[in-house]
Amino acid sequence: MVTRKSQFRFGKGDDSRIIRRGLALGAALILSMACLIARLYYLQIICYADLTERGQKQQQRVVDVAPDRGTIFDRNGRPLAMSVARESIYAVPAEIPDRDMVADLLAPVVGLDAAVLRERFHVSHSFCWVKRKAADDEAARVRDLNLKGIYFQKEMKRVYPKGELAAHALGFVGTDDNGLAGIEHSLNGEIVGLAGKVVLAADARRQPFLSKGAEGVPGKNVVLTLDESIQYIAEKALAEAMAQWHAAGGVVIVQNPNTGEVLAMSSRPTFNPNEYTKSPEEARVDRAIGWVYEPGSTFKIVTVSAALEEKLTTPEEVINCQMGSIRLANHVIHDHERFGNLTVDDILVHSSDVGAIKLGLRLGKDRLYRYITRFGFGEKTDIEAPGEERGLLKPSSLWTGISIGEMSMGQEVAVTPLQLVTAYSAVANGGVLFEPRLVRDVFRDGVHDSLRPVEGHRVVSERTAAMMKQMFQDVVEHGTGHLARVSRYTVGGKTGTAQKIDASGHYSHSHYIASFVGFAPVSHPAITILVVIDSPVGAIFGGDVSGPVFKSIAEQTLAYLNVPPDTASTLPLLASAGPRRPAGKGPKPPTDDDSDDLPGETTLVDSAAGSALPVSLRDAADREAAQLNQGTLVVDEGPRVTVPRFSGQSVRVVARECQERGFDLAVMGSGLAVEQRPSAGTQAHAGARIIVRFAR
């Protein structure tokens, strides 16, 4: 014990050294701990916000979700404009090791000039676009290059799958997805939707494993009143007319006269909204609403309607047209022909300006002005599309002495095509002017916005409208609009030929606006169509230039809408198959189409279908049809026809056979005929209803 004790015995000096060392160690430990705590305090308390942010930046990725614009549909739910996601390629130049080399690599892939890319890379260090909304294959090829500092971001691209179809009505959107024209612009607030911001938590390999945040609100969908098929019919007919007459422009509007809904609205020149930057600015002007012109004789609808409504005249009243000239306020106005005495009906049929001026004078400027405004001229129609013009209409207080004459025949006043077609729709539907409409519905997730109700106000009485319709029908059947006649349907309308004003401010003698406005069928109008051709070459009259366009559109549209024919002429012509038709009176050899379709038939072919016929033959056919139309004997029940056996035949064959025999076919089901009533062999009158059931 003593020995051990002696081993650990320290001297006095040793103890103090140990104590000092211990103290030093303790102090060092305390100091280091203090430093550590201080550092921790600095990092955790003072730099907390900054470091947290930096950490989040490393761990999280913020992705902007582009706003998803709603889809625009036609009235049958066919998409006309929709959005799809596209990759936008951007660069962070500071991260690019060799900017020039990357620019050279990217340029051919994205279809840009390498110099442009180089400049972009050198202008900004933090961000620059390489190509926005690149095509899928472009983005894939850039991704394959695996370049450092090149990134991708999803953006929505607006696509118009039908190309130029209804381009003006739809409009287009800019690079930032904002509507710049058409419905895209006027309903931008509803369609555009809200952008979202999603925070993605990513692991060390930048693989996202968690996301939070708002994904954005999609825009509302819009259903237009346009019908894609009718729109195409109108655009095709207009394009053909433009090519035929080498015209500077043109407009076609098809409207439902009973609601004001616009079924088609076409304007030329046009553009492709997918590539709107490549089109000239004038091509992007919607002439249907943003262009005004002097309507010419089509404006006589106001003068004559007003005179009839005010009971200042009747359709049968004879008016002296003074052999084609009238003096007004020291100006002599000449008619296009030297007419003597014409009835009011004939004034419209032959489009006499002097007759219209005389009716306007009877009205007086105040009443005429009142009716002009009542028909909606001089005011915007408030259609949903932007850029609408109100037209040019002077208040009656500013009219000169000649103004009343000019306005009576459609000069000194400028209208938009939409205003004019709306006015004709008012007469067509019995006298009520409906506001034209382009938007039928706006909805999102089954919730529908409330739209303005269909509103109309009466502009003329039903009696006046009925008289006007009859006179317009006469214009087509006997007057300047005869080229607008449609087979099996009655058509009412009015031609218009207006001189354009040239650069000197005078009426041009070389540039005209040829127009035709009409509706069909006259008894129960389903469509109103306006055709305006600007500066046609080779012909100037509305009846010659625009009438056939109207006919083409009306024929196809009425068939497409399955509107029943309202002229009885076709039924006896088809049913008679020869015996009732006066021999040698205007028969027309069947065309190729007819002979293919109806073998052996020797009936009259309607004049409208046979436009290639000489006028004399067409007139003869028309006269015969008119004779057959006269009186009450429309379908002669004299001879009976044997009902054939339809069993095993297709709908097409049965329909053709029934048509040939003049039977009224009622189809039940589809496939092949399995049952019929009355049974085969029964003697039935032409016009009898045959019910055939089809099954597969």
Partner: protein, 177 residues
């Protein structure tokens, strides 16, 4: 005994042993016998300290709880990560399918372009039917007032096949007007 022997065999170096039967003064150098009492305490049971036992259990339970919490936390954390990846994968899949759906709808709309169909029809030698070739079958719109008539006509107009959700939606919307 062994101890006794051991004791006895040991040389008395420290102090002389005293005899018992001698007075204390005369005991020096006497042999001392020590009896070892055998004690069998194997049957003895230690009294359970309930309080300490409870404390022990509590401590154990606490440890288990802490461990369980730790485990649950870790499990939850990793499960969260795993599900996060899974959810993100599904979201990506949904986005890709939505994109595909849009692309297909766009393709469908492009293919249904009337201009394209017209061109194809012309290539096939098809022409538009003449008015005489158009035969109306089935129910036709009734004739009544102008408004009723046109309304019937437009409602009876051919409609696109509602083969996509949005399209059918649009149609439904139209009918509600």
């Amino acid at each position: 005994m062994a101890s006794v022997a051991a004791e006895s065999s040991k040389p008395s170096t420290a102090r002389p042993k005293l005899r018992r039967n001698l007075p204390v003064s005369g005991r020096a150098g006497t042999t001392e016998v020590r009896f070892v009492k055998r004690i069998n305490n194997s049957r003895l049971r230690r009294e359970v300290d309930r309080r300490k036992q409870r404390e022990c259990y509590r401590l154990l339970a606490l440890l288990v709880l802490v461990f369980a919490f730790g485990f649950a936390y870790a499990w939850q954390h990793f499960q969260c990560l795993r599900l996060g990846y899974e959810i993100q994968g599904l979201k990506d899949q949904r986005a890709a399918l939505q994109q595909l759906n849009r692309q297909l709808r766009l393709e469908q709309a492009s293919l249904a372009d009337p201009q394209r169909i017209d061109m194809l029809a012309q290539q096939e030698g098809l022409t538009a039917p003449t008015p005489r070739q158009v035969i109306q079958v089935g129910p036709v719109p009734t004739t009544g007032s102008g408004t009723e008539f046109a309304g019937n006509v437009l409602e009876a107009a051919p409609a696109a096949s509602p083969d996509s959700g949005s399209e059918s939606h649009g149609k439904a919307a139209s009918k509600e007007q």
